[in-house]
């Protein structure tokens, strides 16, 4: 990627730190750097990452996410010079800032945000998700069936990446022979340092995915089918059909929000239970603990680790004055590990309560897919513990994402297990 945001000057009086997110190349490194920063100052300025404030305590992360009036998500509020000097609108949720496909409603602020948020809120409410539950159960069963007689698989490819991909892409109405490539495009893109040769290769695949979305949106605006892409592409807002640009933005959002996020936390949970057999044992013996365990896995391993915003008016946060046009990086992962909010924050407490983690964010942009994510995660966890309870990770083949800036996870996690029987 070639776009770099314009570094701002350090604000007067701000605590200045070195905090280059692109060096967070393992979870352990990233988490220890966040802990160090949080204990030093919950609000800091860093010239790294394009020049930005970094917010790391639970309380201030929550405050910043809720203050949409001061800290905006819309790319219209910050531009960088693009090719030929023309303004290049930045998606400022992205960390680091980069120009990618438009995401609706994540990149809208009220009042424009409201009708688009309603669309997703209703589709993905707890009641809405109930309608998808049979498909979630089917795909978890089917994908485990596919490998269960062999005694070996990559649990990421088979299950944690495969299932969210199938559920979301089937709902969107994409052809099954494209699911693997589409899922991989998002899975691989999340994992690499922007600007690296590997990332550039995956960027091309991601461009292909976004082009496929444009083609499908064009097709179903002409001739709607009975699927989510058709619904989103033709949705009525304020009495008329939404624009092609916003229709595409909503499908971009559904696909990229859906296919490689639950992957991250579910993979982390299976890796965690390999290294902590006592957690796996308790969940097998006391399956009623699965719901609270899910919240604790989310707290320990939030998929989205950071989000960006832009300051639209001078605003005080944590005793410092954030200036108009400054960029701000808000850390979900740091908030989730803040000792002041979570006693023994580095410990996995299976029945932690209350557990008001911010893995799905807080405030108006709370992840609207959170209920679907929980449903998919729970079904995967439940069936793995029932059907391949003795799985063991092939440790020498386990691979983390090589970068934990905005999303964390495991690229591959091969497992072996006692073969079982198919259910379908």
């Amino acid at each position: 990627m070639t776009n770099q945001s314009v570094a701002s000057q350090p604000p007067e009086g701000a605590p200045v730190v070195d905090f280059d997110l692109s060096t967070h190349n393992t979870m352990a490194v990233a988490n220890s750097k966040w802990a160090e920063l949080r204990s030093r100052t919950p609000v800091a300025w860093s010239d790294d990452n394009g020049g930005a404030w970094i917010v790391s305590s639970y309380d201030l992360v929550s405050d910043a996410f809720r203050n949409w009036e001061a800290f905006r998500s819309g790319r219209d509020v910050r531009t960088i010079p693009g090719p030929g000097g023309s303004p290049n609108l930045l998606p400022i949720n992205a960390v680091p800032a980069q120009t990618t496909a438009l995401m609706i409603p994540e990149e809208l602020d009220p009042p424009l945000w409201q009708p688009y948020r309603r669309v997703f809120a209703e589709l993905l409410s707890p009641r809405g998700v109930e309608k998808l539950r049979p498909r979630v159960e089917y795909w978890v069963t089917k994908y485990l069936d596919d490998v269960i007689e062999s005694g070996r698989c990559d649990i990421v490819e088979t299950l944690t990446s495969g299932v969210p991909g199938a559920v979301v892409l089937e709902w969107l109405g994409f052809r099954e022979d494209e699911w693997h490539r589409l899922g991989a495009a998002f899975h691989n893109m999340s994992a690499f340092v922007p600007g690296s040769a590997t990332a550039d290769h995956h960027m091309a695949e991601l461009e292909w995915a976004f082009d496929r979305i444009k083609e499908e949106v064009t097709a179903v605006r002409e001739k709607p089918r009975d699927d989510l892409t058709s619904f989103l592409a033709n949705v009525q807002v304020g009495g008329e059909r939404t624009s092609y640009e916003f229709a595409t933005g909503m499908v971009n959002m559904a696909m990229s929000g859906g296919v490689d996020t639950t992957t991250s936390v579910a993979s982390a949970a299976f890796v965690h239970m390999h290294y902590h057999p006592e957690v796996r044992r308790r969940l097998i013996d006391e399956p009623e603990l699965i719901d609270s365990a899910i919240e604790e896995f989310l707290r320990m391993y939030p998929p989205a680790r950071t989000h960006g915003r832009t300051v639209v008016e001078d605003t005080e946060l944590g005793g410092y004055m954030l200036r108009k046009d400054d960029r701000i990086i808000i850390s979900e992962v740091s908030a989730c590990h803040d000792e002041t909010a979570f006693p023994d924050a580095d410990e996995f407490v299976i029945d932690r309560f209350p557990n008001r983690h911010v893995a799905f964010g807080v405030g108006s942009h709370r992840c609207p897919g959170s209920h679907l994510a929980r449903a998919m995660f729970k079904e995967m966890l439940t069936q793995v513990l029932e059907r391949i309870p003795d799985y063991s990770i092939v440790e020498e083949e386990l691979q983390e994402y090589p970068n934990w800036t905005a999303l964390g996870g495991w690229s591959t996690a091969p497992i072996t297990f006692t073969p079982g029987t198919r259910r379908l």
Partner: protein, 64 residues
Amino acid sequence: MKVLVQASRCQGHARCLAEGPDVFVLNDLGYNSTDVEDVPAHLAGQARRGVLACPEMALTLVED
């Protein structure tokens, strides 16, 4: 016992529903629309846990 909902703070996390399925009610968009004058004594535990679980601090418990 009453549960007060500060609607402007609710963001649809639905953690109240997870802890208190017999106390809390969500609307079609998944936001809290609970309207209970009196939480029956046998549901007090659900109500308390539901209030504590809210990551937006949108709920308040008023004990009799």
